[in-house]
C-alpha cells in the first residue's frame, strides 16, 4: 500500500470518527469542536484529491468563518445544559441510528458497482493550470459558471440583509441614555 492510500484511509477513519462525535456529543460546543476538526481533516482529504484551492477555502470559509460564527453564538448565548435541552430517549436514538445505517447501506449499494471501483485518474493540466489550482478553477468558474457565481453573490447579499433584519434590535433606552449623557459630559468638559 502506498503512502497516499495509508493517508487516505487514516483520514477517512478520522473524518468518520469526528463526524460521529459531532452527531453524538450532547453539548453544542463539543459538536462544534469536532466539526472543526472534521473540516480540517476534510481539507486534508481535498489536498490528497488534488484540489488545493478547495482545501484552502475549506479552512478559510468553513473553519475560519462559518464555524467561528457558531462558536461566537455559542459563547454569546453561554447556555447551561438546562437551556439547550434534554437528550433524546434511547428508542428514538436507536430508531434514528437504524434508519441512518439503512440509508448508508442503500446508498452504498447504489455505488458499489464494478465500474465505480476503478481507480481515480492521475491529475493533469486542464489548460489554465494544474487541476484544482486557483487558476484552473477560476477560469472555469468565471467562464462557464459566471451566472452561478453572480447568483451566489446575490444570495450572500440577501443573507446579509436578512440576518441584519433578523438580528437587529433597537438599543434599550438605558443604553442610549448613557450614551447621550457621556457625549453631553464630554461636551461640557470641552466647554469648561
Amino acid at each position: 500500500m502506498e503512502i497516499q492510500q495509508i493517508l487516505f484511509f487514516s483520514f477517512a477513519a478520522l473524518i468518520l470518527l469526528s463526524a460521529a462525535l459531532v452527531a453524538l456529543r450532547p453539548r453544542p460546543i463539543e459538536s462544534a469542536m469536532w466539526l472543526i476538526l472534521n473540516f480540517f481533516l476534510t481539507a486534508g482529504l481535498y489536498i490528497l484529491l488534488g484540489s488545493n484551492f478547495v482545501s484552502i477555502i475549506q479552512v478559510l470559509v468553513y473553519a475560519g468563518a462559518i464555524m467561528v460564527l457558531f462558536v461566537f453564538v455559542i459563547l454569546l448565548l453561554n447556555l447551561d445544559p438546562r437551556e439547550f435541552g434534554s437528550e433524546a430517549g434511547l428508542p428514538w436514538t436507536s430508531l434514528v441510528m437504524f434508519i441512518g445505517f439503512l440509508t448508508f447501506i442503500v446508498l452504498s449499494l447504489h455505488v458499489a458497482t464494478p465500474e465505480l471501483m476503478k481507480k481515480l485518474p492521475e491529475i493533469k493540466e486542464t489548460g489554465a493550470g494544474v487541476f484544482g489550482s486557483i487558476e484552473s478553477i477560476s477560469m472555469v468558474l468565471l467562464k462557464n459558471y459566471v451566472w452561478g457565481f453572480e447568483i451566489a453573490g446575490v444570495i450572500l447579499l440577501l443573507a446579509l440583509i436578512g440576518v441584519g433584519l433578523l438580528a437587529y434590535r433597537k438599543p434599550p433606552v438605558r443604553a442610549r441614555a448613557i450614551h447621550t449623557s457621556t457625549t453631553d459630559t464630554m461636551k461640557d468638559g470641552g466647554a469648561s
Binding site: M33, I56, A63, A65, M67, V68, V71, L76, I134
Partner: protein, 362 residues
C-alpha cells in the same frame, strides 16, 4: 551525501531555522524589547539586572512560568481549558510554514535548481496565511468560555467579534495587493515588486491593512479583549503558568507572522530598497560570500538579514504603538472596522481593478 539527503537536510534546516528563530529568539527578544521600549517611552529603566542589559530576563521568566504550579480553578470546563492554549499556538505556528524568508536560491551551488526558502512550498500561500490566521480566534473563544468567568467570556466575545471583523478588512486590503501582483504565491508577490514595491500603488490598501493587523493580533490600540481596566485581562484571566506562557508566546509569533506578511505584501520582502533590488547592487543570491580562512557563506544570507530587519522594524512599530496610542472604545472599534475599513477596502478593490483594467487597455 546524496541529493535526497541534502533535500531532507535542507527541509529540516528551514524548519529549524524558522522555528528556532520564532520560539527561541524572536519571542524572548520581543518580550525584552517590549519591556525596554516601554521603559524608554515611560522614561524609566526597565529590566536590566539579569544578564547584560537584562537580556536574560525573558529566560528567567520562561523558567519561572515552566516551574510554576499548574493551577486549574474549580469551575472551569476542564478539557477546553487545557485545549485553548494548545490550539492557540498551533495556528500561529502553522502560519509560519508558508512565509518565505529569502529569495529562491541554489545556496551557492548546492542545488542545481533554485530552491525556495519556505517550509511548505504552497503556491496559494497568501490564502493559506489568511485561512490559518482566521483560526486564532478559536483558542481565544474557547479560553474565555472554558474559564467560566464573566470577564473572560466578555473578553473572548470581544476578541471573536473583533477578529472576524478585521479579518475581513485585512483580507480586502490584501486582495488588492494580489490584484496588483497577479498571484497568490507569496514568493511571486515579492518577485513582482522587485522595482515597484506594492506600498506605492497600494498605499490605501496598506492604510487599511495596518490597523487591521493591529486588531488581528489584539494589540493596542485594539487590545479590547484583554483590557485590564475593564476585564481584568480578558480571556486569560484564569490562566497561569505555562498555559499563560503559551498565549503569550502565540501573541508574539502572530506579531511576527503579520509583520512578515506586511513586509512581503507591501515592502518588497527581502529586496533592498524600492527601485533598487539586490541584483542591481551586485548581490547574487545564488553566489557565495567568501569569509576568512577559505570558509564562505551563501550570499542569500544578505537578503534574509535584510528581510529580518524589516520584520524587526514592524515588530518595533507594534511595540512603539502599544505604548503611545490609547485604547479604543469598543463601539468605536466596531464602527471603524465595519463603517470605515471594510467599505474603504471594497472601494479600494474596485479602484485597483479599474486602474489595472484601464492600464491594460491603454
Amino acid at each position: 551525501m546524496n541529493e535526497t539527503m541534502i533535500a531532507w537536510a535542507f527541509f529540516a534546516g528551514k524548519i529549524l531555522l524558522l522555528f528556532g528563530l520564532a520560539f527561541g529568539f524572536i519571542a524572548p527578544i520581543m518580550v525584552w524589547v517590549e519591556r525596554r521600549v516601554c521603559a524608554l517611552i515611560q522614561d524609566r529603566y526597565g529590566p536590566n539586572r539579569v544578564g547584560p542589559l537584562g537580556l536574560l530576563q525573558t529566560l528567567a521568566d520562561g523558567i519561572k512560568l515552566l516551574l510554576k504550579e499548574d493551577l486549574r480553578p474549580n469551575e472551569v470546563r476542564p478539557w477546553f481549558f487545557i485545549l485553548a492554549p494548545i490550539i492557540c499556538v498551533i495556528p500561529a505556528t502553522m502560519a509560519f510554514a508558508v512565509i518565505p524568508f529569502g529569495p529562491p536560491t541554489t545556496l551557492g551551488g548546492l542545488f542545481a535548481e533554485p530552491k525556495r526558502l519556505q517550509i511548505a512550498e504552497l503556491n496559494a500561500g497568501f490564502l493559506y496565511v489568511l485561512a490559518i490566521g482566521s483560526l486564532g480566534v478559536y483558542s481565544i473563544a474557547l479560553a474565555g468560555w472554558a474559564s467560566n468567568n464573566k470577564f473572560s467570556v466578555l473578553g473572548s466575545l470581544r476578541a471573536s467579534a473583533q477578529m472576524i471583523s478585521y479579518e475581513l478588512a485585512a483580507g480586502l486590503a490584501l486582495v488588492s495587493v494580489v490584484l496588483l501582483s497577479g498571484s497568490v504565491d507569496l514568493v511571486k508577490i515579492v518577485e513582482s515588486q522587485t522595482y515597484l514595491w506594492n506600498i506605492f500603488p497600494g498605499f490605501l490598501a496598506f492604510l487599511i491593512f495596518l490597523p487591521a493587523i493591529f486588531a488581528e493580533t489584539n494589540r493596542t490600540p485594539f487590545d479590547l479583549p484583554e483590557a485590564e481596566a475593564e476585564l481584568v485581562v480578558g480571556y486569560h484571566t484564569e490562566y497561569s503558568g505555562m498555559k499563560f506562557g503559551l498565549f503569550f508566546l502565540a501573541e508574539y509569533v502572530n506579531m511576527t507572522t503579520v509583520s512578515a506578511l506586511a513586509v512581503l505584501m507591501f515592502f518588497g520582502g527581502w529586496e533592498f530598497l524600492p527601485f533598487l533590488p539586490w541584483k542591481d547592487v551586485g548581490v547574487d543570491v545564488n553566489g557565495l560570500i567568501p569569509l576568512f580562512g577559505g570558509f564562505s557563506l551563501p550570499a542569500v544570507i544578505i537578503p534574509f538579514s535584510w528581510f529580518a530587519a524589516k520584520v524587526a522594524f514592524f515588530m518595533f512599530l507594534f511595540v512603539w504603538v502599544r505604548w503611545t496610542v490609547p485604547r479604543f472604545r469598543y463601539d468605536q472599534l466596531m464602527s471603524l472596522g465595519w463603517k470605515t475599513l471594510i467599505p474603504l477596502g471594497i472601494f479600494n478593490i474596485i479602484l485597483t481593478t479599474a486602474v489595472i483594467v484601464f492600464h491594460r487597455m491603454s
